[in-house]
């Protein structure tokens, strides 16, 4: 028997999903160990192995693929535990990283801070000005050398930085993506002065126009490089000592994995890998969905945890990506699966706003410590979880598989005194209002990634995972008008599940800005250049796989681009530029409305992308699901739409492979609760996952079709 393993290191838990060649999937968790993340990983593997009666050693020795999403780089950034890094940048532009295009002061601010001037501030610099040196050299916008590189002064600067204790260097020269020779020479000089140093040059990590973002990407990469490499080595040593023979593969922000040797050279590609796992999982899920679900290629991935609610979107089978992501106020040029978040989780605190007496939920959160009042760990402020408990939507004795009893009376008392009394309503009304507010916030967030981008949610399904997703999705789905909610059976460890199933992805991008005429231009040559660079870089992970090409396009003088797909076969065909312009305008009008296109304004191409995906064979057989016969439902009172109703509660483990149930009802498992509302029907899909059909949606699964 061989296995593949997916690990997701989160803030509280490290999740482990193990897939056997037989198709069997097991999962478990362990506490994350911040001091040495490898420890928590081994614990999680040990727990999961034990579920199958194995030891970690025997499981690992039979593992063919070990894939992991790690928070090591992001933790190092947040805690400013990076290497002492020197910055070498074109002279006269030494402040580019500090000025941060001005917008650094508000980049990544949470909604509530946007109008609060005291919350605006630039990043705490990862490279202070006294470790920054100007490099005498200059290249212009044609890639032509205006001033050659002054090697002597550059070497002197590198020596000073080594003497100042730098173990890493970031090199960012103006226009280097058109003329990388200067940066390559500076790297060589740095390595001559400090052979062990970690050096990143911007024309390697992000050969894209825009010196601030390119410099931030380069600087962060070097700052995080040595520490991340050490963490990965430590993990690799531990796993190899336990018998792992396979390479460790690292989850990237792109939604794919790469081998550890490659990953440790570019830690910035791991900064968003955590939240991306669930979106990657949704993408994988979309590939094996029953085609009778007509929205199978369009999914809204929603993850509700203890402190935040994260959303990603898959349109036509592809996750929506963002060319830039923001980390700790820095803009990073890593094309990543886009995930947006708000502070709306089970721990979000409900409170009466003192001036106006309005009920508000969040953004402050009780987190997992002290947590909601009902945890009895010291929390005193009512939270969303407390409201759910009071409404009967969570079971007090089945939470965390019964490992942690919840105190309903304490939750009631807190809601009564802090919310219901000041509002002059009943405890249940206050609790239901709390839940309604948080659910509408979630719908508003989803609108940002869908309607704002020109997607109609009515042609999407919601995927609900994380601790709270399956409990609330039935409400925000109605608000958005989506026809289906999908609840993965592994919802509580869905990111790890996604990582276990992620393909190897190699991406390369390069800027070659130009105004597109009817003929000629840089399109063919640039894609050819990218293909060359790609094959040189990814040699370690083998070749083959499926390639996708994109070019970012815009009207002249616009700042925002539209990503336009290109078929490799089109590159050789005549009329290429016209084809691209037509496709650009079609996508443009889809997003901004008919009549917004205006070709007379001129069309520009900016960035070219080449993405290669090496997938895994998908020969997972349907899991065995024949448990005890259905009908083991009990009933309990649940407060819904202003009244107590006695709803059926079905044990998830008791649900057979073919099954459907009309709402309202509750489905409870060890680690999750699904709330199916009135005019909704839940069915079990052939994959073992669940689908909730909303009123107006068409039949979604085999069994539902049979029922109808």
């Amino acid at each position: 028997m061989t296995f593949s393993i997916g690990i997701d290191i989160g803030g509280t838990f490290t999740d482990c999903v193990v897939r056997a060649a037989s198709g069997e999937v097991i999962f478990d968790k362990a506490f994350t160990t911040p001091a040495d993340l490898a420890e928590g990983v081994v614990d999680a593997v040990t727990n999961a192995a034990a579920r199958r009666g194995m030891t970690a050693e025997s499981l690992l020795s039979q593992t063919a693929a070990f894939k992991i999403g790690t928070t090591s780089p992001v933790n190092r950034l947040i805690n400013r535990k990076g290497a002492r890094t020197g910055l070498l940048i074109t002279v006269g532009h030494e402040d580019a990283l500090l000025i941060g295009r001005v917008r650094q002061k508000t980049d990544g601010l949470a909604e509530g801070e946007r109008s609060d001037i005291r919350a605006w501030r630039k990043a705490e610099p990862i490279i202070p000005s006294d470790l920054t040196r100007g490099v005498i050299e200059r290249v212009d916008s044609f890639g032509d050398v205006v001033v050659p590189l002054d090697e002597a002064s550059t070497r002197a600067s590198a020596r000073e930085l080594v003497a100042a204790g730098c173990t890493a260097f970031a090199v960012c020269l103006l226009w280097s993506f058109l003329h990388p020779a200067h940066e390559q020479r500076v790297r060589a000089i740095c390595l001559e002065e400090a052979p062990e140093a970690f050096v990143t040059i911007s024309s390697d990590i992000a050969p894209l126009l825009g010196e601030y973002e390119r410099c931030a990407t380069t600087a962060l990469n070097s700052y995080l490089g040595p520490g991340t490499a050490a963490d990965l080595r430590s993990l690799d040593t531990r796993l190899k000592a336990l018998g792992l023979k396979a390479d460790v593969l690292l989850m990237q922000s792109t939604g794919g994995v790469v081998d550890a040797g490659f990953a440790q050279r570019r830690p910035v590609y791991m900064l968003s890998s955590g939240p991306v796992g669930g979106v990657a999982a949704s993408r994988t899920m979309s590939e094996r969905l029953d085609p009778s679900i007509h929205t199978q290629r369009n999914l809204i991935a929603t993850d509700m945890g203890g402190t935040s609610f994260d959303v990603g979107v898959i349109a036509d089978g592809k996750p929506i990506e963002t060319p830039v992501s923001i980390h700790n106020r820095y803009r990073i040029l890593v094309s990543a699966i886009e995930v947006i978040s708000i502070g709306a989780g089970g721990g979000s605190i409900a409170a009466i706003e003192p001036v106006t007496g309005v009920l508000q939920v969040g953004p402050s959160s009780a987190g997992s410590v002290p947590g909601p009042v009902c945890y009895r760990l010291g929390g005193t402020e009512p939270t969303v979880t407390d409201a759910n408990l009071v409404l009967g939507r969570l079971s007090p004795d089945r939470f965390f598989a019964g490992r942690h009893a919840l105190d309903v009376e304490a939750a009631r008392a807190a809601i009564a005194s802090k919310l219901a009394a000041p509002l002059g309503v009943t405890v249940e009304q206050a609790a239901e209002a709390t839940v309604r507010i948080v659910e509408s916030r979630m719908a508003d967030l989803i609108r940002r990634l869908t309607v704002e981008r020109g997607f109609d949610p009515r042609s999407f399904s919601v995927v609900a995972y994380g601790g709270g997703g399956p409990l609330h999705a039935g409400a925000y789905a109605v608000d958005l008008g989506v026809p289906f909610v999908l609840v993965p059976v592994a919802a509580s460890t869905f990111s790890a599940w996604g990582i276990a199933h992620s393909p190897i992805v190699h991406d390369a991008a390069i800027s070659a800005p130009a105004i597109l005429g009817e003929e000629g231009g840089p399109v063919r040559a640039t894609f050819a250049r990218l293909a060359e660079a790609k094959s040189a870089k990814s040699a370690t992970s083998g070749n083959g796989g499926v390639s996708a090409l994109y070019v970012d396009m815009r009207y002249r003088y616009q700042m925002h681009e539209v990503r336009v797909p290109v078929q490799a076969s089109e590159l050789g065909a005549p009329g290429l530029n016209r084809v691209l312009m037509d496709r650009f305008e079609q996508l443009y009008e889809q997003r901004f409305g008919a009549g917004t296109a205006l070709r007379a304004a001129g069309v520009e191409v900016t960035t070219f992308r080449h993405i290669t995906t090496v997938g895994f064979e998908w020969n997972e057989s349907a899991p065995s699901l024949d448990g005890p016969p259905a009908g083991s439902a009990t009933r309990r009172p649940v407060f819904l739409d202003g009244a107590w109703q006695n709803l059926p509660v079905i044990r998830l483990e008791s649900i057979p492979a073919t099954w459907a149930q009309a709402g309202p009802c509750m489905v409870e498992g060890d680690l999750m609760t699904i709330f199916v509302r009135d005019r909704q029907t839940i069915v079990r899909l052939p994959s073992g996952d669940f689908a909730i059909t909303l009123d107006g949606g068409s039949p979604s699964g085999r069994s539902a079709a049979e029922d109808n």
Binding site: I99, S115, D116, R138, V147, V355, Q558
Partner: protein, 686 residues
């Protein structure tokens, strides 16, 4: 509250999400660099009377423009031409609608079941809307007839369709017709998006709920504003900001004077009626610019953490002004530069007056902010680029990288940009070098540019630009007021930030230096004769010239001698202040090992003693000194140039600084600008 508590919280947030969405569409479709980089565009959701209840996160003056335009249409066009679903009106008239002619505002009524239930609108800044001079500033104009011609609302979209004849009419006047065309589409797309989202809400809950939520949103924000005003004492606070307008051979000074009265009724009276008479053209603002200026200050300073609701501010503030003054200009006084002139002066002066009020209570003092970034200097260049194409471009990085003012407990942000547009960005150097035939020798923080204070002002930026791969001269309009007088003033005894400076080094020989393998780092390393430009200048940049730009730092807050010596040491390390300033302005003595505490104490005592020596007691009346409790004040005057290392008042010999000191302990309590008794020949005050 007219709505249920949970409904209100849900729909209030939905409305602000809709405004954000409309703003995002506007910025993404626009091709105007001013809109997409500076975020100089915005949307508004208004009630049926045109009251602006929600605006997006862009520059707030566009919200005012939408409100004024909707009200103009409602009051004047109801019968002819009338308005209904799918009609959109566009305007740029600076007396009734928009802050100035280069800002277009578009509004559309939202009809439901035959009734008008709301308005939505969008506004955007364009680089050129015609007139005799390229760009927004009609240098030399003597009335609005020598500026871009304004138009009152035109029904450019009828029943959902843009009228081609009217589109051509609007586009035809501009030097950049394609950009205007694309931006008209951006405005329409934004209005459509706002409209369809509101209609979803109307379909779900009906007109009564929408109307109630809009009213409740304003009431919610107003309740918070009232509560904040309750925590400051009643009183009167005054401030002045001076605008230096260089015309032909002389500079005229205009005073924006604010008298802020806070009454027990939890209301503010903002009286600007004693401001200077209007100029013939260029620097004035009409009523839209005046209201936008007041809102710009009050929304940031008082409205922190609240929904972006102009209506709530207007319900709390009464604005008083005199028609015919430069902050409330009347036809035909030109207003082409209003947003970075009179309207900006209003915002700065109101911000300072509000700051003084907030400093009067410990509960609110951390909300006071010193002056921000002066008048936002801009350089417009046009000519032929390195690919042989015509271009016309504002270099916005110099405007949008000014420093913010200090706040209690928080230094001003370095290179922070426009206070009214917190999500604005400057373009990368590479983006400008790609579009325009120029090379940046440097773009860096300017040492010593932050106003001195216990919490210093943010640093501004210095930059040096040479023409590159172009033989033709580049036509250039530099417009940055605040070259003669500091325009980002200090608060609570803090001092103003650096003045703006535009210098051209003619025939600098920089190309030869570069060809020799060297890159100049400082002005002193450049050849050629420096020519300091006035704050409003039309000139040409020749192939061998270097353009040097320095923008304003923010004002400081509190007496600089109270600044923590460790903070001064940090500033020295990062190069934010020079050794001279640390020693002479901050009184900090350092050794190789760090601060010398004893020598620093001694130096500060000596500097305080020097201050207190001359000057007369000007009486009591102020709040107690935070240092010693005395309310007695002593006045000292000094030249403007003594206010900071980089306060270089070109051609303002007639002004001086009046420093109010605590008569007992010598702490600086207030720093003001005023005309001295003997007026110099170079300037005239209106």
């Amino acid at each position: 509250m007219r709505t249920d508590s949970a409904d209100f919280e849900i729909f209030r947030h939905r409305i602000s999400t809709i405004a954000d969405e409309g703003s995002a569409v506007l910025a993404m479709v626009s091709s105007s660099p001013v809109a997409s980089e500076a975020n100089d565009c915005n949307v508004a959701i208004m009630d049926a009377t045109g009251a602006a209840v929600a605006i997006g996160p862009g520059l707030n003056s566009h919200g005012t423009a939408c409100m004024m335009t909707a009200r103009y249409v409602a009051s004047n066009y109801a019968d002819n031409p009338g308005f209904g679903a799918g009609d959109m009106f566009i305007a740029n008239d600076p007396y009734h609608c928009s802050p100035h002619q280069t800002c277009l505002a578009m509004v559309t009524p939202i009809m439901w079941e035959g009734e008008l239930v709301a308005w939505v609108g969008a506004g955007i800044h364009l680089s050129d809307m015609g007139g005799p001079v390229p760009g927004q500033v009609s240098v030399g104009a003597q009335s609005i007839f020598q500026e871009a011609l304004p138009f009152l609302p035109i029904r450019i979209v009828e029943g959902g369709k843009m009228r081609r004849d009217l589109e051509v009419e609007v586009v035809r006047r501009s030097r950049i017709p394609n950009q205007v065309s694309l931006d008209l589409r951006a405005l329409i797309a934004a209005c459509n998006r706002l409209g369809s989202r509101l209609e979803e809400l109307l379909r779900a809950r009906g007109a009564a709920v929408l109307t109630a939520v809009l009213a409740d949103t304003a009431a919610y924000a107003r309740a918070h504003l009232n509560q904040r005003l309750e925590s400051v004492p009643d009183g009167v606070w005054e401030s002045s900001v001076w605008l230096d307008y260089p015309e032909a051979d002389r500079t005229t000074f205009y005073e924006c004077r604010v008298r802020l009265t806070k009454t027990a009724g939890r209301r503010l009276l903002i009286d600007l009626s004693e401001s200077s008479p209007q100029a013939p053209a260029v620097i004035n603002c009409g009523e839209p610019g005046l209201i936008a200026g007041v809102l710009g200050a009050a929304m940031t300073t008082l409205g922190y953490g609240l929904p972006l609701c102009p209506e709530a501010i207007l319900q709390v503030c009464e604005i008083r002004s005199t028609p015919g003054t430069f902050v409330h200009a009347t036809w035909p006084a030109g207003c082409s530069k209003a947003t970075t002139a009179a309207s900006h002066a209003v915002r700065e002066a109101v911000n300072l007056a509000l700051g003084k009020m907030l400093l009067a209570s410990p509960a609110t003092e951390t909300r006071a902010m010193a002056g921000c970034g002066g008048f936002l200097p801009v350089v417009d260049i046009d000519g032929t680029n390195q690919r042989g194409e015509r271009f016309a471009a504002p270099l916005l990085d110099v405007a949008l990288s000014v420093g913010y003012g200090g706040m209690i407990g928080k230094d001003g942000i370095d290179a922070a940009g426009s206070l009214g547009s917190p999500f604005a960005s400057i373009a990368n150097v590479e983006a400008y070098e790609y579009r325009y035939p120029i090379l940046y020798l440097w773009r860096a923080h300017q040492p010593d540019s932050g106003g001195l204070g216990r919490y210093r002002g943010g640093r501004g930026v210095r930059m040096a630009i040479v023409p590159h791969r172009t033989d033709a001269p580049l036509a250039m309009v530099a417009h940055g007021l605040g070259t003669s007088l500091p325009s980002s003033l200090g608060l609570g005894g803090g001092q103003p930030g650096a003045t703006t400076e535009f210098v051209v080094r003619r025939d600098s020989g920089t190309a030869e230096v570069l060809a020799g393998g060297r890159i100049p780092r400082r002005e002193e390393e450049l050849g050629g004769a420096p020519e300091t430009l006035p704050g409003l200048a039309r000139t040409a940049l020749q192939r061998r010239d270097v353009l040097l730009l320095r923008n304003n730092g923010g004002g400081g807050i509190g007496d600089p001698l109270d600044r923590e010596p460790q903070d001064v040491l940090h500033d020295l390390t990062i190069g934010a202040v020079s050794a001279g300033s640390a020693r002479d302005d901050y009184g900090v003595v350092t050794t190789a090992g760090g601060i010398d505490p004893a020598a620093t104490d001694a130096r500060r005592t000596k500097l305080r003693a020097e201050r207190a020596a001359p000057g007369s007691v000007v009486g009591d009346g102020a709040a107690a000194c935070a240092g010693c409790g005395s309310a007695s004040l002593r006045e000292r005057t000094m030249s403007l140039g003594a206010l900071g290392q980089l306060v270089v008042p070109h051609g303002a010999a007639s002004f001086e600084a009046s420093i109010l000191l605590c008569a007992s302990c010598g702490r600086q309590r207030d720093v003001r600008l005023r005309e001295s008794a003997s007026s110099g020949p170079a300037g005239t005050a209106r």
